[in-house]
Amino acid sequence: MATQREREPLLEVEHLMMQFGGLVAINDLSFSARRGDITAIIGPNGAGKTTVFNCITGFYKPSSGRILLSSEGSATPSDIDVLTRSGRRSMAAAAGRIYLLERMPDFEIASQAKVARTFQNIRLFTGMTVLENLIVAQHNTLMRASGWTVLGMFGAGSYYRAEARAVDLARYWLDRIGLLDRADVAAGDLPYGDQRRLEIARAMCTEPVLLCLDEPAAGLNPRESATLNALLKSIQSEHKTSILLIEHDMSVVMEISDHVVVLEYGTKISDGPPSYVRNDPKVVAAYLGVEDDEVALAGVGIAP
């Protein structure tokens, strides 16, 4: 079981608000994802799940609210307060660096706060080989080792060693997803299920503290889905990576997640362990709808 230290919040979303013109996509959403957990965000289509991801990973600038990431340990309220007032993007607190993601551009969220993500529709670099896709993900390490390209061009040994390490890490992940023998194939030529897993491997090559997966099981057959579950479970248990997951496939959500947040129309309607959420009448109503007479009765304040 997870230790006490692992149960500290890693990501704390507070009063997040996202408006597009007059449309409120996310309305006053607060939740947290704990370190070492697999946290699932579920909800009917259009509930704002992907918008939450876009806010966390810096593609959208939230209209208001705070997204705090504590890379190690938990930040004290006073630390958070100091950082929020300072106007800076991150600071070193007693328990490790803390980041305010809503203030950071997307590439810094990836390279400094160490948040990685995948998309609903696969976005591999299809023209590059499988191995290159995984090495691109280690760009910043390699860029530093190559002395911003200058040393790399002149063949410095340190660059070759860094590159060898990058290839080792890439091969480790290829082995984990069972694609080691296809390392030199163009990524676009892989079958769909392999591309899905390669995307996760590429995200893991950035060595993230938080991995955000947007519907990783979409379009997978039941066998591939089971392999995915096993992969995510093993990432959770063997690496210091916590997972935030958007998923429609309830067999995946209920089986692997430790914590579920349910959204509907941009607001949170339920939050808790899978067993609790599954039986929450509000969740059942959001997914299955309620009978007309129940709505009518609820409307006049009489419980059915």
Binding site: D106, F107, F125, T126, V136, H139, L142, S146, T206
Partner: protein, 305 residues
Amino acid sequence: MEYFFQQLINGMTLGSIYGLIAIGYTMVFGIIGMVNFAHGDVFMVSAFIALIFFLFLTQVLGFGSLVLALLVVLLLGMALTSLWAWTIERLAYRPLSGSFRLAPLISAIGMSIFLMNLVQVAQGPRNKPVPPMLNDIIVLRDGANYAVTLSYKQILIIVTTTVLLIAFSFLVQRTALGRAQRACEQDRRMASLLGIDVDRTVSLTFVIGAALAAVAGLLYMVHYGVVNFADGFVPGVKAFTAAVLGGIGSLPGAVIGGLLIGLIETFWSAYFSIDYKDVATFCVLAITLIFLPSGLLGRPEVEKV
């Protein structure tokens, strides 16, 4: 036959210069999907930078060694031209990156006119000459009434281009920066979510393109011996034609396109009419766009539905 071989050598020399400029067009197009029309004028500015430093070193400081002088001019020219391109990208293109597609293109045309006029005002409208250099020739084959020759100039141009292209393809294929460039070409948003600073990568792309154009500028000055403020336009558009012919976005395509354009122009001048050489070159542009819109090595754009 001798005449043919001589034209082949001349064409390759000219084509090398076009190829170096064409890489700048094709790289920028690949990464931000914009034709940088100011690139030809950056090339012209670099030729002036080369001219000024060359004259300063040889006439004022009295550098004895021509090779050393050219090397110093090359390095200074690459550095300064890169700085120009970096500034242009910062001032004229980046603020428009979120705008509609044509905005940076129009800004590039404006920048082109600006640079041309700036140099005209600052350096005067007349041709600026440098003393002739590297005029020794090697006679490769002495025919009955025509000798095939290779001048030191031509050797310098072809060798410099070859060495640079090898270094450059190593940069793109094997370094982290090159991989980041290719990643940004394919999917800029995904690249930035993997921690790649896309803005910086785009800046560096402009800088690398300009550094290659600076080499072309120096070689152009050595080859023709004169530089003029309007010299950016026609070579620039020809290099753009080369990039389109090779398949815009493709780096080997740019080099092959450059060589082909150089050869077409030279052979047309040699066998048909020198007055119509530009007509011939630009007919190639029209024919390519009609019959082979993705160029020789370009990938056809496939829209997934």
